[in-house]
């Protein structure tokens, strides 16, 4: 089949970008969206033009490298699917697809469809872990964890850090990503001792990065390839509020709340 691709081209963050139209005539319904871009890129290189830069690695929906907007939807039209897993059979001959990078001040553009998501690493760095150095562990079965709790932790831990939630959010909030890690670690007994500190430090880091505030719109979970539920954000807010109320002196408390409590439901 034939497709028209309108792709955002931008050499780097300093220069201006624009949409450029390309026709791809030999699209096989079985290829993935990224393979379709590969085919386009091969033809561009043969014409000595620069190929479209896009991020990818595993091509199995697990590394979180890939991601861009297709006709305004993060990761395209299929539910729970990253662009590397999106096959072209979901489009029709003659379709026109507008492809552009995640748009968020917190994710500065690097080139074409590639953005810088290191703000996510900073949030984890601030406290997205359990502080246990190598060699300090007791036997894995010493603390029993019910299957329901383990499953709940796993649901939240499934986040791949792709950034679609931020891209889809009208406020460009990172609440779903941050909430997913807080919910994962907080659900487990091993994560309990640092629960207050973790919520305060991760949320304050999130606020220091250029993300917007969460107003509970819910676009994020709709595009999330791992279907992280909105509940993760509720857990984050709860942990954060509880920790703030405790006013523990060993934890910095000069942090503003993430959520506007008057926001629409």
């Amino acid at each position: 089949m034939k497709l028209k691709l309108k792709i955002w081209r931008q050499k780097n963050c300093k220069e201006k970008g624009k949409f450029v139209q390309y026709a791809v005539d030999n699209v096989d319904p079985e290829m993935s969206m990224l393979e379709c871009l590969d085919v386009l890129n091969e033809s561009l290189i043969e014409r000595d033009e620069e190929p479209v830069a896009f991020e990818h690695d595993c091509r199995e929906g697990i590394c979180g490298s890939c991601g861009f907007m297709i006709n305004g939807v993060a990761h395209g039209p299929e539910r729970a699917t990253t662009v590397c897993q999106l096959t072209m059979r979901h489009f029709k001959d003659g379709d026109e697809l507008a492809i552009e990078p995640w748009r968020s001040v917190a994710f500065p553009l690097v080139k074409d469809l590639v953005v810088d998501r290191s703000a996510f690493d900073h949030i984890i760095e601030a406290g997205g872990y359990i502080s246990v150095s190598t060699g300090n562990a007791q036997d894995g079965n010493t603390l029993l964890i019910g299957k329901d709790i383990a499953d709940k932790a796993m649901d939240a831990a499934a986040c791949i850090g792709c950034g679609a939630c931020v891209a889809a959010c009208p406020n460009a909030s990172a609440a779903l990503f941050t909430g997913a890690k807080i919910a994962h670690l907080g659900a487990l007994p091993q994560g309990k001792p640092e629960r207050d500190r973790r919520a305060l430090s991760m949320v304050s880091q999130m606020n220091m990065e250029a993300f917007g505030n969460c107003t509970n719109i819910g676009e994020c979970t709709g595009v999330c390839p791992k279907e992280i539920p909105l509940e993760a954000i509720a857990t984050m807010n709860r942990d954060y509020l509880l920790a703030s109320c405790k006013k523990r002196e060993d934890i910095a408390t000069d942090i503003s709340p993430v959520i506007e409590l008057t926001a629409k439901g």
């Binding site: 091969e42 043969e46 033009e49 190598t134 383990a150």
Partner: protein, 637 residues
Amino acid sequence: MTLDARIPSGPIEQAWDKARFDMKLVNPANKRKHNLIVVGSGLAGASASASLGELGYNVKCFCFQDSPRRAHSIAAQGGINAAKNYPNDGESIYRLFYDTVKGGDFRAREANIYRLAEISNHIIDQCVAQGVPFAREYGGTLTNRSFGGAQVSRTFYARGQTGQQLLLGAYQALERQVHAGTVTMIPRTEMLDLIVIDGQARGIVARNLVTGKFTVHIADAVVLATGGYGNVYYLSTNAKGSNATAIWRAYKRGALFANPCFTQIHPTCIPVSGEYQSKLTLMSESLRNDGRIWVPKTKGDKRPPNEIPEDERDYYLERRYPSFGNLVPRDVASRNAKAVCDEGRGVGKTGLGVYLDFSEAIARLGEKTIRERYGNLFDMYQRITDEDPYKAPMRIYPAIHYTMGGLWVDYQLQSTIPGLFVLGEANFSDHGANRLGASALMQGLSDGYFIIPYTVGNYLATNKFAKVGESHAEAQSAVTIAQQKIDKLLSIKGKRTVDSFHRELGKILWDYCGMARTAEGLEKAIGEIRALRDEYWHNVTVPGSGDDLNQSLEKAGRVADFFELAELMCIDARDRNESCGGHFREEHQTPEGEAQRDDEHYSYVAAWGYRGRDAAPELTKEPLEFQYVHPSQRSYK
């Protein structure tokens, strides 16, 4: 050259304790004065960086992705082994050791494997403490399953995302050290050369992939944890970025490369669908527990599978291996699939595929049970192929999956260059000629969390380090060489894309150095690889410049190294006149068509040394001795 593996003397059960006791320690106050480099942030690199940081060393960790969390380890699905014996089914450290030696077809070092089995239990404990959400029973204990034909249930898992959860655990431990200021993370940066000064590894040359700038990083020791080289075949189950550049450049600086031809082909992958195919997707091996593998009895039978009557189907694994049936090891299953396709009985539009059929299991157990066991895999299959495996059999075909070969290391994980340590899939150490399922994750974490923190310390405590600056002549000359290579690739401006060369190279290797090899075929492959390599350096085209993000240029450098590595793989395969594990030489098979080892002549590690661009590499042998597990012919009949 002779190779000293530095295996501790005495009983194998005490070897690691003894080695640790004999190691010299670095005074806590001196640790922060030592700069260390870790290249790679997969399971091996992230766990090493975190653990070294916790000890107080000053660590720089590099990866080429935008974040350390994206390393290829993230994609591992099935699980991680440990000798916990929670199910009370006869597991022990000794059994895990025994199975791994045998599974590797007696081509790995006993002492290393014993240590791996010993450490396996600590890994599970460490990961649980970090919050890795392993599968649990209702009563709250950890769940195990059997994997890869093992007769005990020793595999721990987190849904179908075990690698992801283990890596996130290691990544979080790494970020904790970044926060603590002991580790500096340097992403989107590629190591392009190793700096060796006065015989010691003293640093690396790296290129920032966004700005194109070269930097020199000096340290007292360099740890490579850069993963496997399966992508030399172009199509593999590895992530697209996985490459051999770091270990290859270290090889050219004097590190020996061991058993390059030992590669693993996984039997259950989704078949290639077209020319545009960019990678292959693995379907977990656990599917073989309930699926039956078959092809039509007659050649070229193009009927849909449901219309082929039972007596016209050939369940060839069940027929040939009545006792193991569909559960034969990976190498045996893969070779048999190739054989039936070569006979013209393959299925699907390319004829390169066999059926994996669940209809019998669904009839016996009900669709619900099958959905519970394999639901996510069936969904993945359907997403890719648009076919419903609950209704029609899956089509599968073998694909390159893992490389057992890698840089040679001794018991301390040090290469032949003092101060250069190699961890994870990048080294050759523990899997011999065939790796068992769920043991790569175990090895990566064992190397990173529990071995390197000791052995690097010993190296630092027993060596002296001259003051070296970034402007040292060796460092600057390495930068010049790396720069020249980039400039050269940009200046060729030929007619063919990097991918078109890579695809062609992969095809040569797959045909002649893949599932079945012959001396004649390998000879031919070497000639074809050289010719293609020459064409590459005259006719490749790399658009853009070297001073911004240029993904074609990144690939071009990696493919240039793959050409050279491919040749070494063929040389090694040609030299090893026996069949063992994943290395199947058609000349060496039993009358029944099984792999025939030659222990008398080939019970050694083949370690190759670089001697210059056009000179033949030099072979050094490390003899293997088996004091505990006695070599026997594997039989799965």
